[in-house]
Structure formats: C-alpha cells, structure tokens
C-alpha cells in the first residue's frame, strides 16, 4: 500500500493553484458558480476549455501521445481538487470523456487525426444521439434507420435526449442498419460532421429546471458519408458498449461533491435553526451531513482504487457500480442543499442564473442553485442507463453456484 504525499506533489499543487487562480475570466467563474447540471453553461465552459487547451491541461485522463497530460493518478486528483475548490465549470463530458476516448480505442487513424484535435481544443462539441422515444432503457430497440446508398447512408427517424444538440456542431449516434437477427446485431455507430445537414431538425426541450438542456432531433432523408462509421456495419452495439465504459466508469467526480458539501456546511453555519442557534449546530443536520460525507468518502476511495488499477477496477460490475454510486450521491447532495435552503429555494430565478444577466440573486449562492440543481439531478439516475438497468447488470456479476 502506498499513497504519496511528497513535496513534489505539493509543488505541483501550487503550480495548478497558481494557474487556476489567474486563468479563468470573471464570466467563466460566474458560470462555475451557476452550474446546476453535469453540463455547465455552454458558451462559458467552451471558452474555458480553449484556455485549458492552450495550457495543455484539457484532458488529464487521455494518453499523453493523444494530448493527455501524462500526470500520475495523484496529480489527476490534485488537479480535480484544486479545480473544484474554485467552483470552476466542469468541462462538457461528451467529447473529452466519451467520444474522444472511444476514438482513441476504436477509431481509424484518419478518424483520430480528423476529430481528436477539435475535441481537445473545444472547436467541436459533440452531442450524443442514442435514445429514441421507444428506445430508452431498451436502447437496442432503436429504430432510427440508416440505409446504404452509394458511398453514403441515408438516415430517417428520430433521436431524443440529445443533450445540448442545439449548441453542438457534431453528433455521434447509433442507427439501425439491419433488422436481421438479434436486435443488437443490426446497429451501427456513426460520427456526423455537422448537425445542420439538410433534413435534420433540432428542437430543444425545456426541462424541470426551466432550462432547455435536452433536445429531440428529427432526420428526414439525411445523407451522410459512410466514412462516418466507427467499427464495422452492424457492429455498433459493441462500439457503444465500449463507450459506455468511459461514460460510466473511471471518473474523478468526488472532488466536486466535496466542494458542494463544503458549500452546504458554510451556508448552514449562517442559516438560523428554528430550534435556536444555526442549522450547522442541529444534531439531526450534523448526523445527516456526516452520513453523506461518509458515503462521498467511500465513493472517493472507490474512484481512487479504480484509477490506481486495483483489482476492483477489473470487476465487470465496476462501471455500473460507479454510475449508481455517483448518480445517487449527486441526488443526495442536491436534496441536502434544498433542505438547507428551505423556503429560499422556492423563488424561480432563471434570469439570475443566466451568465452575464446582471440580475442579482435573491439570498445566498446556495439558495440560487439548490432547486435547479435538485431538479436537474433527478435525471442522473435516468440517463446513461437507468439505475434499475445498472442494478440488473451488477446482479449478473454475482457468483452463481
């Protein structure tokens, strides 16, 4: 067993801190404080990505040869800790954590050369076209069809829950290319160079939080080149499964949760309790926040074991366990935020949440974000495979007699 706490790590921490103290603009910092979703406010976070890219720190988890940082596991954690201490907006995951790592694993050399630079620099934002109205948890039932025509595919059908599609310039998607055999066998994985192909229509969906984060996308005879394919035709299911491992596992999400816990604590210290004193002194609050911190600490330890390559990282249930843990913790954090905010979470403050709106928030920072974050977080146990589906997958990994 070994955890390094050497002086070289402390000087690394100082280097990271110095950069993160100066590099973000006020607009980026405001976006970080007003992030109420996995997806930070789009324009600000993409501006921040360009700054981090110029520094070479945009993809700590990538292999160095493809533009990663070459940092140790300890360094990656320190970076995440310093990052979230400053309430900076998390970079959008679709490119850097999903399609980018997928292309590194499974893409052709041409695809890597064509797409990885734009993913790193933030020139491109990729939306994910997976779910359909009749293919959610049962994703393999998808029916949006691509039919070969010369060197092209012609796509017809509909996608939904395509996050930020209205802001995206590219899309990765699953299409049906065959109805023969098992439903998983007729699926193909495509990379779309544009989101404004003729016949493509994107309609934003306003969520519970009042924010248009999700979209639906309609395809009416949309023609795309067959070179857009990753892997073989009808082998898209295995490509998608490889991507899901990146989406569900190998993350460093706990530093952001610790930061929110700290915000809750600080707010509770200044929020009067009806029993006298402050909420922070209330034994029920103390026990509950202690329990939440204990579970966050367990998840943090789990993440560290996974990225250090402990045998637990090879457990076939690891991605699903990680997804269940992190999504349910995010929800519990959001619940405690709304509990501390109380009635102050009830004013609808969409304008104050807008970056650069200069509309002052009513009350404290936590009170502005608590309810939108709570409402948005109801999705964490639904997206990327519902937690019911994840638990099915985990149960299948148990030893049978």
């Amino acid at each position: 067993m070994d955890i390094s706490f050497g002086p070289e790590l402390e000087s690394f921490r100082a280097e990271v801190a110095a950069f993160l103290d100066c590099a973000p603009t006020p607009d980026i910092r405001e976006a970080g404080r007003k992030t109420t979703s996995v997806f930070a406010p789009f324009e600000s976070v993409m501006a921040w990505q360009k700054i981090l890219h110029a520094k070479g720190w945009v993809a700590p988890g990538w292999p160095a040869q493809y533009g990663g940082t070459g940092w140790s596991v300890e360094q990656r954690y320190i970076f995440a800790e310093e990052y979230f201490k400053r309430d900076l907006p998390p970079l959008l995951p679709n490119g850097l954590q999903m399609v980018g790592p997928l292309l590194i694993d499974l893409g052709s050399e041409e695809q890597k050369a064509k797409y990885l630079p734009g993913i790193l620099s933030g020139e491109d934002y990729w939306t994910q076209g997976y779910s359909e109205p009749n293919a959610g948890s049962d994703l393999a039932a998808l029916s949006c069809a691509a039919v070969a025509d010369g060197d092209d595919y012609i796509i017809n059908g509909q996608k939904i829950w395509t996050t930020l599609a209205h802001k995206a310039n590219r899309m990765f998607m699953l299409v049906r290319t065959s109805t023969e055999g098992k439903k998983q066998q007729g699926i193909t994985f495509l990379l779309l160079d544009r989101t404004d192909y003729p016949g493509m229509e994107i309609r934003p969906i306003i969520g519970l939080d009042g924010i248009p984060e999700q979209c639906e996308v309609f395809f009416d005879n949309v023609r795309v080149p067959q070179t857009a394919r990753v892997g073989a035709e009808n082998d898209g299911w295995s490509v998608a499964k490889a991507l899901l491992r990146h989406e569900r596992g190998g993350s460093a999400g706990s530093p952001a949760m610790y930061r929110k816990l700290e915000l809750i604590r600080v707010t509770a210290q200044g929020t009067p309790s009806p029993f006298g004193g402050m909420v922070a002194d209330d034994p029920v609050f103390q026990r509950d926040i202690g329990e939440l911190e204990a579970d966050i600490a367990s998840h943090a330890a789990f993440e560290k074991l996974v990225i250090s390559g402990h045998p637990l990282s090879h457990d076939p249930a690891m991605p699903s366990m990680n997804k269940v843990m992190s999504s349910e913790l995010a929800q519990r954090v959001s619940v405690l935020m709304t509990r501390v905010a109380g009635t102050e979470a009830l004013p609808l403050q969409l304008e104050a949440l807008n970056i650069g709106s200069n509309v002052a928030a009513l009350g404290q920072e936590l009170e502005l974000v608590a309810m939108p974050y709570y409402l948005n977080s109801r999705a964490t146990t639904i997206y990327a495979g519902t937690n019911e589906v994840q638990r099915d997958l985990i149960a299948r990994t148990l030893p049978a007699a």
Binding site: M1, D2, I3, S4, F5, S72, V73, E74, R265, P283, F285, Q286, R287, D288, I289, G290, E291, E293, A294, D295, A297, S298, H299, A300, A301, F302, K304, L305, I307, S308, H310, P311, L312, D315, A317, M321, V324, M325, E388, Q390, R391, D392, I394, A395, R396, T397, L398, P399, A400, A401
Partner: protein
C-alpha cells in the same frame, strides 16, 4: 497510488485462510462455542506459530513490527471465518494497551505474545468512546496509592484476562492503570457476545492500587492510537464478513427455486443483491484507502470515524439483506448467515456506534 497487498501479505492471507479452513470451519466454530471454551487451544497455538500474536508489537517489545496493512490482511480473513478467538481482545486491544507501559509491560507482554497469558482493555462505558470529560470511571489519590471507581462495559476477553488495563479520568486527563482482576473491589461478570466473542462487565469499587501500577497519567493520544489500530482491524473483519455474505447470498439466489425459477431471477431480488455488492465495494474501497492513509501517517481522527461509521451502516445493510434473501432458513441458528449478521451488528455497536461517529464527522 497502490492499494494492493504485497506478495508477503498475500502469502500471509493465504496461509491464514488455509489454517482456518482446516481448523475453523463453521461447524467446528459452532461446536467450539457450544462447548463454552473461550478459545480453541490448537487454533490459538497455531495463530501464535504464524506470528499473529506478535504481529502488531514493536520489535523492541518482542514483536514483529507489523504494519496496519498487515493487520488488515489478517482481519479480512478473520472476518470471513467469523473467528471468535481473543485476537482482537488480547493482542490488538489489551496487548497494545499493555505495551504503552514500556519496559514495565514485561514480562507479561512476552507471555501474551507467547500465547500463555491474556490481557484486556477496559475502556468503553455506556454509549461508545466519548471525550475523557464524559468518562465515569475515576482515579483519585488515596494516600501513597490511587483509588479506582467506576464500571466498564464490553471489556473484550475481560473474564479470561490475567490483567486489566483500565482507562480512568484523573482530573481532566485520561490515565491508564494496570489492575489485577482478583484485587479486592474488582467484580468481573463475563458473558458471551451475540457474535461468539467473550466479554465482561467490570466494576471497580474503592479499588486501591499501588501508584507504580499507574502506567500513564496522560494517555489519551496513546490510547487513541491503540483504538485506531483495533478499529482498522475490526473494519477489515467487517469487510471480510460482508464478502462472505455476498458470495453465499449470490449462490443461494442462483439455486433456490420458487415459482419454478431461481429467486435471483426476480428483479426485486437482483436489485437487493446489487445493493449488497455496491455496499461491499464501498466498504472495501474505504477500508483499503484508510489503511493506506494510516500507513502514510496521514489519517485524521475524522478519517477513522468515517471508516467506523461506514462499516456499521454498510455491514448492517449487507447482513440484513442476506437474511432476507435466504428467507426462513436465514433465520436459523444452523446457517452461517445469521452469525455473520450478528458479527456485523457487534462490530457496529462496539468502540463507538454509527450515530456517534457520524455526528463526529458532521459536527467537525
């Protein structure tokens, strides 16, 4: 970062596992406990031959200078086999507390390491291990000697101990004093715990002790270190027990049929099993991470409180689910499942309950 065991530790786990598989099967364990014996002499001797009784002591004390991760490696196996031997009681708690006396700990400490004597730590009172100001047991001056009064609960191995190491409030300090259990005014009431271990309630009424037997008059930090090691080992036992329950319960759900199909094929069952696996993974991860922190000298009291709280919560959840999945047979004394639950419940309650440790974390 590396959270894996060394090859030597894997060998230790392997040989301890083999020893216990041969000598400490569930049936052998149950027969031993029913016999009323406080320990199995052959197993105790074999643990001594493997070096486990010497493991946590400094080499200058005649021990092997084992690291926290060595204790965890052993604790995982002990938990898996539901060991009720007084290893925790006499080595990790009593023995380590005795060793705080330095040279005065000998020759008794040598006898403990050789397996010829047992010592017990008398520290807990009613609800856990609060601050010294809340301690009811007192040590006061009485002429040239000192006088001990109070009552200690859950003194592991207390009735079998050749000597008791007792914590007491002396003014606003925590003192440690060595007490002969047969001294006038000492009343030891031994009992078996729900998990098969032996413990005792010990009352001290006007017990007059020579001042030389006061081992330390300001021992709070030193005793915290002893308890930290014991809690870590106890946590390893909990994770070992959870792992065993997960395997047993998964196998049972795959073979037990109702309505013509294995019960594990029902989603309600599958999700319960999935939650058991998540709980075990969380517990294992936190255990190994905290072990590495302690070994690096970087653990705070909050880190240890957090670990203990999680073992209590997660252990109880896994144990209760295991009984539920097993159904009626899980309620019986003849199956190991309920005995694992009782071990996990005992771990949750001792050395500070879940609520106690969670509030410590939350109050900060």
């Amino acid at each position: 970062m590396d959270f894996s065991f060394t090859p030597e530790q894997d060998m230790l786990r392997d040989s301890l596992g083999k020893l216990l598989a041969q000598t400490y099967s569930f049936d052998q364990r149950q027969a031993l406990l029913k016999s009323g014996a406080a320990r199995s002499e052959p197993v105790w001797q074999a643990l001594g031959e493997m070096g486990l009784l010497a493991l946590p002591f400094a080499e200058s004390d005649g021990g092997l200078g084992g690291q926290p991760s060595d204790l965890v490696a052993c604790g995982l196996v002990m938990g898996r086999h539901l060991v009720a031997e007084p290893w925790l009681a006499s080595v990790l708690l009593g023995g380590k507390a005795l060793a705080l006396g330095g040279a005065r700990a000998q020759p008794l400490l040598a006898d403990v390491i050789a397996g010829n004597a047992q010592v017990a730590l008398a520290h807990e009172e009613r609800h856990g291990i609060g601050p010294v100001t809340a301690m009811g047991t007192t040590l006061t001056l009485n002429g040239d000697a000192v006088q001990l009064d109070g009552e200690k609960k859950l003194v592991l191995g207390g009735a079998e101990a050749n000597a008791l190491i007792v914590s007491a409030r002396a003014g606003d300090k925590l003192a440690l004093v060595r007490v002969d259990p047969s001294a006038p005014g000492v009343a030891v009431t031994g009992y078996s715990m729900i998990d098969g271990r032996r413990a005792a309630t010990v009352r001290f009424e006007h017990v007059i002790i020579p001042a030389a037997q006061v081992m330390r008059d300001d021992a709070e930090a030193a005793l915290d270190a002893v308890i930290e090691n014991a809690l870590l080992t106890l946590s390893a036992e909990a994770v070992g027990a959870m792992g065993a329950l997960l395997e047993m319960t998964g196998s049972y759900a795959a073979t037990r049929k109702q309505f013509g199909v294995p019960i594990g094929s029902f989603q309600a069952m599958a999700h319960r099993l999935a939650d058991m696996k998540i709980a075990w993974a969380k517990a294992q991860a936190l255990l190994l991470y905290t072990t590495a922190l302690i070994e690096a000298g970087q653990a705070s009291p909050r880190d240890v409180a957090l670990l203990k709280a999680q073992m209590g919560r997660l252990g109880r959840a896994v144990g209760e689910s295991a009984v539920q999945v097993h159904g009626g047979i899980g309620m019986t004394d003849e199956l190991a499942v309920g005995h694992y639950l009782k071990r996990l419940l005992a771990i949750e309650a001792m050395l500070g309950s879940t609520d106690y440790h969670l509030r410590r974390v939350g109050a900060r």
